[in-house]
């Protein structure tokens, strides 16, 4: 703790090391394939199909997350009840459980021979090697991000506003739709963006539950396993580029809307 070594340069040096460590592989992958190859890869119907499948599955998971995660977030933000911290702990577990173990757990809960699996099977829905399995896996690993972010958003809404709205004759529903939701909207949108992105990024849980039909991260793994790095690289470039663009664009849009 001597004053000789100056503070700001050392902090900047360490911080930049990290920034370089994170950005260098990404830049390398994006620039690793010639543009022509990237273009060809994007037009490869298997690649394009898997990307669209990935994005739409994650979108469905996010919609389900919206319908159930927003109520949970609102309840956690506004109410105290016994067992609250248990639920708080439970809902964050998918972040910390190894993804392959999450896949096993989902297979156990939703597999062909499980109670739920048979029940849904009667409705014609099966979770193994099918789109619903992809959605379930994505929902499981990504919904904690939505709940945590939306909850912070609701907590930031002054409860006085809700109280006043009620004295002005509004029911709890109206208060939620006219006051709480609009004011937490930016946090909810951030949470939805994060959830969607996190769903797209999932590999371990999906690969166990649903190898086929292939989502893009699985296709990428398959190509890497079968043909090696050179064949996987353009797919990785495309996948990173698209998920990155969507994430950054959505985030920028969200903060612009906040500003205006």
């Amino acid at each position: 703790m001597t004053t000789k070594r100056s503070f700001t340069p050392i902090f900047w040096f360490l911080a930049l090391l990290l920034v370089i460590f994170v950005s260098y592989p990404i830049v390398l992958t994006l620039t690793g394939s010639p543009l022509r190859v990237l273009g060809d890869t994007l037009l490869d119907s298997e690649v394009l199909g898997s990307i669209l499948f990935t994005f739409s599955s994650s979108l469905i998971a996010t919609v389900i997350g919206l319908a159930t995660g927003i109520p949970l977030a609102y309840i956690l933000a506004r109410h105290d009840f016994p067992g609250k911290s248990l639920i708080e702990g439970l809902i964050d577990l998918p972040i910390v459980i190894p993804h392959s173990a999450a896949g096993i757990a989902l297979l156990l809960a939703l597999g062909r021979n499980s109670i739920l699996g048979r029940g849904f099977g009667l409705l014609g829905i099966r979770f193994v090697s099918s789109a619903p399995g992809v959605v379930a896996a994505m929902l499981f690993v990504s919904v904690p991000f939505l709940v945590d972010t939306a909850r912070e958003g609701f907590e930031a809404v002054d409860s006085h506003l809700e109280n006043v709205a009620r004295t002005l004759g509004s029911s709890q529903w109206r208060v939620f739709w006219k006051v709480s939701f609009p004011l937490a909207r930016r946090s909810i949108l951030s949470g939805l963006i994060l959830m969607w992105s996190r769903g797209i990024s999932e590999f371990g849980a999906v690969v166990i539950l649903t190898y086929h039909p292939m989502i893009a991260p699985v296709l990428l793994y398959e190509r890497f396993q079968s043909y090696g790095l050179d064949y996987a690289l353009p797919v990785a470039g495309i996948v990173i580029l698209i998920s990155m663009l969507i994430f950054l664009v959505l985030r920028a849009l969200n903060s612009v809307r906040e500003g205006s």
């Binding site: 002054d158 006085h160 506003l161 109280n163 006043v164 709205a165 009620r166 004295t167 002005l168 004759g169 509004s170 029911s171 529903w173 109206r174 006219k178 006051v179 609009p182 004011l183």
Partner: protein, 377 residues
């Protein structure tokens, strides 16, 4: 105007967080401007929220008008609420804020209000607009209707919050320290305005504050809350001149508080015996007593006054505390018979008087006050 209702609280008990209110009984007349006065943290806000239906009461009954509303949700009570922070909806324009209570009503919730609006032909947008314009001009905020709350000044926010609360024509208006975050100059203007609006609309109003001056300026009657209990209810002058206990006396700004023994002489005159000093009073108490004199009731002069003031003492100036326009002057009255014992009297005088009297430390001075200025309790 015709909706101003009486509020009756019976045996209300409340406990939220660290605060609790014990056995509150209170009756506020229709059209009355009632101020609940108490130090910050005395549970006043919780009481307002209970009346509004936001916080539940532990026990007791709340009547609004002729109805028992204890178990009704807030949207079915017909109260107007203005928080200290005004709680304007930040995502809505001033106009949308004000009209919120007309547009965002749940059907079941407001028989009176709906009836009222429908009489004039449904809640059409023209009707709403007309009503908003009417109340905005009453509050002189018509020029702000298109603005968002964010850019408004404290006084403007206060007016918008009041207009929003009053547009639904509530049975009672609940005000939670609505002046405490305003600058002093604005506060005075708004006070005048509150009085004007109350005279115009006549809505029963329950205003809570910790500021005695605000209470004195606005209230028909004042109720004082201390430690979760209502300790005194009465018109401002009564609270001000005859506080029921010492902590209340301190709270409303009395500086001279003494403990002594009060006796009645044969002619019926009251006297407070105080360490050998004898103060004339008009009280008829007997025994151990406390007494207070408001600093502005003490007159200072260089010569002993021949006047109606029954109490007249010679002393020495021991402190002059400059308060800008005024000074607190502390006069030490020494009692020779008691061997150097002394009594400090604090008088409030204007700067001009200080100059006129040429007041300075250690100077001999006479302090006088009427027997009626000595409040014995």
């Amino acid at each position: 105007m015709n909706r101003s209702s009486q509020l009756k609280l019976k045996d209300i008990n409340l406990s939220v967080g660290g605060f609790s209110l014990v056995n509150v009984n209170l009756e506020i007349q229709g059209g009355e401007y009632f101020v609940l006065l108490g130090p910050t943290g005395a549970g006043k806000t919780v009481l307002l929220e209970a009346i509004a239906g936001i916080k539940p009461v532990t026990s007791g009954t709340i009547w609004l008008g002729a109805e028992d509303v204890t178990d009704r949700p807030p949207e079915a009570r017909g109260v107007g609420f203005v928080y200290q922070d005004f709680a304007l909806f930040p995502h809505l324009s001033v106009e949308k804020n004000i009209s919120f209570g007309l547009l965002n009503r749940s059907t079941k919730a407001e028989p009176r209000q709906l009836a009222r609006v429908e009489r004039s032909g449904r809640t059409s947008s023209q009707n709403v607009r007309a009503r908003v314009e009417q109340i905005s001009s009453l509050f002189r905020i018509s020029h702000l209707l298109d603005r968002k709350p964010e850019g408004l000044s404290g006084g403007e926010k206060q007016r918008v919050a009041m207009a929003r609360a009053l547009i639904t024509d509530p049975q009672i208006l609940l005000l939670d320290e609505p002046l405490s975050t305003l600058d002093p100059e604005i506060r005075e203007l708004i006070q005048v305005e509150l009085r004007r609006i109350h005279q115009e609309l006549g809505t029963t109003t329950l205003h809570i504050t910790h500021n005695f001056e605000v209470a004195a300026a606005l209230a028909d009657r004042i109720g004082v809350v201390m430690e979760g209990k209502i300790v005194q209810v009465g018109p401002p002058q009564e609270i001000f001149r005859q506080p029921v206990n010492e902590s209340l006396a301190r709270f409303v700004g009395v500086r001279n508080i003494f403990r002594g023994h009060h006796t009645i002489d044969r002619e019926g005159g009251g006297h407070l015996q105080l360490d050998g000093l004898r103060l004339a009073s008009i009280s008829n108490l007997e025994g151990a007593a406390r007494a207070s004199i408001r600093p502005e009731d003490i007159l200072l002069s260089r010569k002993s006054l021949v006047s109606s003031a029954r109490n007249n003492f010679q002393g020495r100036v021991i402190q002059i505390s400059d308060r800008g326009s005024f000074c607190y002057v502390t006069v030490r009255v020494t009692i020779p018979e008691q061997g150097g014992r002394s009594l400090d009297l604090i008088a409030l005088v204007t700067q001009s008087s200080v100059q006129e009297l040429g007041l300075e430390l250690d100077q001999e001075i006479y302090a006088a006050f009427k027997a009626s200025a000595l409040h014995v309790f």
